[in-house]
Symmetry: D2
Subunit: 258 residues, 4 copies
Amino acid sequence: MKNKHYEEALAALEPELVTMARWARAKGQRVLVLLEGRDTAGKSGVISAIRGPLNPRQCRVVALGKPSEAEAGQWYFQRYVQHLPTAGEIVLFDRSWYNRAGVEKVMGFATPEQVDAFLAAVPVFEKLLVDDGIRLFKYWLGTDQAEQEERFAERVADPLKRWKLSPIDVQARTLYDEYTQAREAMFAATHTAHAPWTMVNFNDQKHGRLTLIRNLLDRLPDCALPEEPIDWPPLGHEPLPERYELIQPLPPYPVPGD
Amino acid sequence: MKNKHYEEALAALEPELVTMARWARAKGQRVLVLLEGRDTAGKSGVISAIRGPLNPRQCRVVALGKPSEAEAGQWYFQRYVQHLPTAGEIVLFDRSWYNRAGVEKVMGFATPEQVDAFLAAVPVFEKLLVDDGIRLFKYWLGTDQAEQEERFAERVADPLKRWKLSPIDVQARTLYDEYTQAREAMFAATHTAHAPWTMVNFNDQKHGRLTLIRNLLDRLPDCALPEEPIDWPPLGHEPLPERYELIQPLPPYPVPGD
Amino acid sequence: MKNKHYEEALAALEPELVTMARWARAKGQRVLVLLEGRDTAGKSGVISAIRGPLNPRQCRVVALGKPSEAEAGQWYFQRYVQHLPTAGEIVLFDRSWYNRAGVEKVMGFATPEQVDAFLAAVPVFEKLLVDDGIRLFKYWLGTDQAEQEERFAERVADPLKRWKLSPIDVQARTLYDEYTQAREAMFAATHTAHAPWTMVNFNDQKHGRLTLIRNLLDRLPDCALPEEPIDWPPLGHEPLPERYELIQPLPPYPVPGD
Amino acid sequence: MKNKHYEEALAALEPELVTMARWARAKGQRVLVLLEGRDTAGKSGVISAIRGPLNPRQCRVVALGKPSEAEAGQWYFQRYVQHLPTAGEIVLFDRSWYNRAGVEKVMGFATPEQVDAFLAAVPVFEKLLVDDGIRLFKYWLGTDQAEQEERFAERVADPLKRWKLSPIDVQARTLYDEYTQAREAMFAATHTAHAPWTMVNFNDQKHGRLTLIRNLLDRLPDCALPEEPIDWPPLGHEPLPERYELIQPLPPYPVPGD
């Protein structure tokens, strides 16, 4: 997909995102979006696209690292629960409690019993949230291995992207099908009427982002709210310049092309 | 400044940001950047530019709302302290404890005694952090009122930017000079050898971003570290396609131009 | 019940509490005790009795105040969840999520719909905790109004106890039966096989405490663990006295009777 | 000191503690008490005595364990700062930031450079708190080794007290004088006009408690406040008994002596 077309299409969605956020704020709605998928799938890209036009004080991103020792001893969902949205918030989870049924299962970080217990608990846990009024969306970003290999290769080659490569990624390559199987088992257990999964093809990441955002917006109710008019009188005097007294500004960066 | 030139120049800085982050991680360095300035100055823009190429698990943004009742009763710095960087982290404060000497002073949310006590405490507080090894940078983003008026007008006109306007902004227009005076008083009290302020002209936001990032990078020590080679063997089989079983992907978003 | 008999009986239970705590630590068990009941029932007294002999770093008490604005907008259970025990901990809740079915219902702080939704959610929520291995105990401390009146009168008369009286207590007197009805409705909805309620008569608080602690201990599995021997060699020299150099100790408090 | 005399004397102090707490609440005062001393000195005992008559929602005890990895990488004071009192609170620290100059120094958990940096930072840090209006009290509880040996021996012998013994205690016996030296060095660096240390002899723990509490009360300003009268009308009907419907109370615990 061409950059230009992507940007036009995204620009057309942004006002709807802003409208949705205004509605969430005004109505005290809580929106929770889980983003799952293989490494390189494009989770951060779609997160950036969603939160780009929104108020960072309203739209939070949650990307938890590995649990501390105290957290590892807690109820499995506990460390996620504290980041759930309060009234008026939109929260995007970059990976989520589903780690247990994905990477933890495939890499053997969780026992089969733990995975089974998790899969049994999830629909119940999510129903509690949904019944409480949280609007929960669960997206899985699909990527063929050919595409994934290309992106991995880019990360290896590009020093700017090296940090995105972890030792787990190296192993993930040889476990592509195990991840697929884990995902299907996860879907079988957790694709419920109250909290269904949505699969989005992210082989073309830009196209995937648009598809996901369009779907998210379509599944929220009509968010239109009358704009309150802003009273914006003329300034009434010549605008003032900065007066630098104690400290002078830095000399500007010399720009190529200037 | 032309978009193309900006993007080229930023692209040239990004590898340095990534190198710096790798160094911070490897050496357990803590980097703390405070971003202050008038409304519309461009704090969020420069924050996005800095964190763009970085790992969101390493580079955090802190933008605190107004204090809760419990926080209002605490030591003034307490709610900020809990967000300071741990070893290996880069933390960007979108506004900071300096609120007390800026908006709180000008709008009368803090008493003159509170402002004076704050200005006396800041150099001492910051010295504790710096002596502990935190690398503290304080930037003030300057904007002439003519420029600010233009940006406010844009926010009024553009539904995408309306949320950026608060009632306090409306008042800030008539208090432009009071903010200048407050800033100069703040500089007089808190521009110290151990934690100096840096002023950056953000009348051209793109140019301001480059100037600020260049300055930040120049003030950190040599961050170069040898790259560890990554062992990246060939996959050894045909890459696998996604196998969608239980759930099929969404139909792709129809793209204008396709 | 005579003080002397109470103290003897409690002294007999304390080693069992300590043994239980040692077992919880060694086995990574999580013990969660909810204490509910009318004002004056004696919740704090039994909490003190339980935690008296235990390590305060292992046995925590949770007594939440009224929710902040952010908490009020969250999933109802969220602010409680963050205090659940981690492996090895014993947590005592002085009131709990059941507030919603008690004081909030009777005083009209929650709507009937909120109370109904809460009562429907509780058994599901608690099952998640119990299935995760948390050992959950729910006690309700019963008190006849004659007894309650006496205790209220004592609080009114005794300046030491005045702080225990809140305006809500004053109203609770006239709502004694409403609280009874609310409790029975709560029992009907939440007395489940996986998380049953236990009622304890606290008309005699000392007797109530012993009864409750005995029951708690009886419902935990055999907690005996072999003690590891402690190697405790003789000191090998005369014990040293304190050497006060820079600061001398305070003169001792003059004790009546000395 | 005889138990009876102790209890009489403590009972005489309790109304003053309650008055002080009422004053702190009414005036939004923040009271912070640090309790330091050798193992077995009696820190928990005096904490229990202070908080005994107070509202647990107002008087908090803070006893931090060893730092997590993230905490270990932070500004040294950071994890303590988040527990400082808010307006109206009384906070008792069972050990405190002074760990670095005591156990961490003597046991070699901190480098000499870290200890020196800490000792240089403390007076500055504490002055920030005191200047902000926090009422800070620092007590060191002294114990001759003869007394300490006796208490250790009791812990070894008494299964109820075994959990109080840690491997560090075993070593502390042979390091009695090193702890004395560390304390004196700490006093030399941190016994300041704005935050002086107070030494209390805890060879007799009961006597020590009274001495410490008396000193604390004497150093707070006049806390007397007029009591608001409580309107406490007669109930107006026969008091109601509990009506147990769904669940009957447990059979009472059989009490020796009954």
